[in-house]
């Protein structure tokens, strides 16, 4: 990574992680309201979804820029960071949920099968695991670019399941979950933008690494 833009990925890592200590601070100082566990659960869930959507936005943003004749490099630099921190928040979200509902792993598994919104949320989280495991530097080379890319298209499925999980968990006001769904649809549509010849060539070369 060139030195001049190294700050982008540091900034993304730090910035994405900062809400976590803020959440702890709010919890510690009683600023999470009357039902702190529920609030923390909602916030980490939302953080996970927002970060995953942001990471999904990186490639379309680059495609869009390239169509407009500019070469954007920074989105690609932060994509992995955003995805990994999103997965981290999803894990914390599950942790708080387990803490909230109390002990009993068997009960939890029953709950996960019985309640569609939990099934969907848990599926999204499980699908994140292979993505996290193949986020290492050498994963692309080991897997081959085509297979790696195919696997990582799962993020769209994770995003869709995340939005559905959000939608089902809300009692009535669907404004936020609809907004998330809208963003996801736009991002997905942008993926169908044709690549510029230059971008295409670069990617063709990668396949044979």
């Amino acid at each position: 990574m060139p030195a001049r833009t190294a700050w982008v990925s540091y900034a993304a890592t730090l910035g994405a992680l900062l809400p976590l200590p803020v959440l702890f601070y709010d919890f510690w100082t009683g600023q999470l309201g009357a039902n702190p566990l529920q609030r923390a659960e909602q916030q980490t869930g939302l953080l996970a979804l927002v970060l995953l959507l942001l990471s999904l936005a990186c490639t379309p943003l680059r495609l869009l820029a390239s169509r407009l004749g500019t070469r954007l490099l920074w989105p690609a630099r932060v994509r992995k960071t955003l995805g990994l921190t999103g997965a981290l928040y999803a894990l914390v979200h599950l942790g708080i949920y387990l803490l909230d509902r109390g002990p009993g792993l068997l009960d939890f598994l029953q709950d996960a099968l019985k309640r569609p919104y939990i099934t969907v949320g848990l599926t999204a989280l499980l699908l994140l695991i292979p993505l996290v495991l193949t986020s290492r530097k050498d994963s692309v080379r080991k897997m081959g670019f085509v297979r790696w890319q195919a696997l990582h298209r799962l993020t769209y499925l994770v995003g869709a399941l995340g939005v559905l999980h959000f939608w089902w968990s809300v009692k009535k006001d669907h404004t936020e979950s609809l907004m998330a769904a809208g963003v996801l649809l736009v991002l997905f549509a942008l993926r169908f933008l044709k690549k510029t010849p230059q971008l295409k060539k670069q990617q063709e070369e990668k396949k044979f690494l």
């Binding site: 030195a3 982008v8 730090l14 900062l18 927002v50 630099r77 530097k137 009535k172 990617q203």
Partner: protein
């Protein structure tokens, strides 16, 4: 690293002469940009995902008349007043728990008239102060269980609905009581936003309405009811889920048909007309077996009829409470 990115392989990229920081000035520049960028992203994330905190506890005004001790107090400790007035659902003022305390302040609760009509011998429109002067006011410490799985212990002040019903004399045909709430988009941002089908409507079977536990509340902890808790007049039916307890009542109608209530209209599979607290009948999306008493971290088991089974279970004798949930 990103395989799509030409700069991950410096040799591919002629515009990248070096991958090392060279000067002190460059290090400083990177540091500043990192800090600014990180704070920018963190702020953005906080703005998108952090929920507003609670408003300060409401200052309650004392009523002028003597209050009697009601006969049905729970022995459980009362919840913190700031939780009672700062954490509740009142969608007319917004969908967040903190919205009612934030937005209800502007609601004008005087003058306020209540229309009493339908199958009654004495239909009338009555001013709220006149209405509450008809009856002795009582303090009643009740458990309140929300359908979402949390609960509070609330010191209501009011009078039994039965007292009002006896006074207005339902006809022999009347079988249900229908309540209608205020829906004023000028004073209620949630009504303007159109979250539910306004006005909010709730209902009780006549025998439920006549039960001595059923209260029309005008106060909280011996003081005038704060706007966010349903001033000037709200229903309290402690063995049912909280959403039955309609706030800011403007009309009480006696009918022979079961009223179509707001939540049962929106999601009939999730919110029934009866809405009796029942740990054995799950909400389709979550279990009702346990609840969180606000102020406690661990959950506690939910009691049948919210702990009032001894008083009210007989009202539902022979009914399938899974069907009539």
């Amino acid at each position: 690293m990103n395989p799509d990115d030409p700069q991950d392989n410096p040799q591919d990229n002629p515009s990248n002469p070096s991958s090392k920081l060279k000067t002190r000035r460059e290090i400083l520049r990177q540091g500043v940009l990192t800090t600014v960028g990180a704070l920018g992203l963190a702020t953005g994330l906080e703005l998108l995902t952090r929920r507003p905190g609670m408003a300060a506890a409401a200052a309650l005004a004392a009523p002028s008349k003597k209050i009697y001790q009601g006969p049905y107090d729970t022995s459980e400790p009362m919840s913190a007043l700031e939780d009672i007035t700062g954490y509740n659902n009142y969608y007319e003022f917004g969908v967040e728990k903190s919205d009612p305390a934030r937005n209800a302040g502007k609601l004008k609760t005087r003058p306020w008239s209540v229309v009493i009509d339908g199958m009654v011998k004495k239909p009338q429109t009555v001013d709220i102060d006149t209405l509450q002067s008809w009856f002795p006011l009582e303090d009643r410490l009740y458990r309140m269980r929300c359908v979402e799985g949390w609960s509070l212990v609330i010191p209501w002040m009011g009078f039994p609905l039965a007292a009002l019903l006896r006074r207005i004399e339902p006809t022999s045909k009347a079988r249900y009581v229908k309540f209608t709430a205020l829906a004023d988009p000028k004073q209620m941002p949630g009504v303007k936003a159109g979250v539910l089908d306004w006005p909010y409507v709730e209902g009780l079977r006549l025998d439920e309405a006549m039960h001595p536990l059923t209260l029309l509340a005008v106060g909280l902890e011996g003081k005038i009811l704060p706007n966010q808790n349903g001033a000037p007049l709200r229903l309290v039916v402690p063995w049912k889920y909280g959403f039955k307890n309609i706030k800011a009542i403007t009309r009480i109608t006696l009918t022979d048909k079961q009223p179509t209530t707001t939540w049962s209209l929106i999601a009939p599979d999730e919110y029934g007309f009866y809405a009796n607290v029942n740990p054995k009948v799950d909400h389709p999306r979550w279990s009702q077996a346990t609840e969180r008493r606000i102020g406690e971290l661990a959950r506690r088991p939910t009691l049948p009829f919210n702990g009032y089974a001894e008083e009210v279970a007989h009202l539902y004798k022979g009914m399938d409470l899974r069907r009539y949930f």
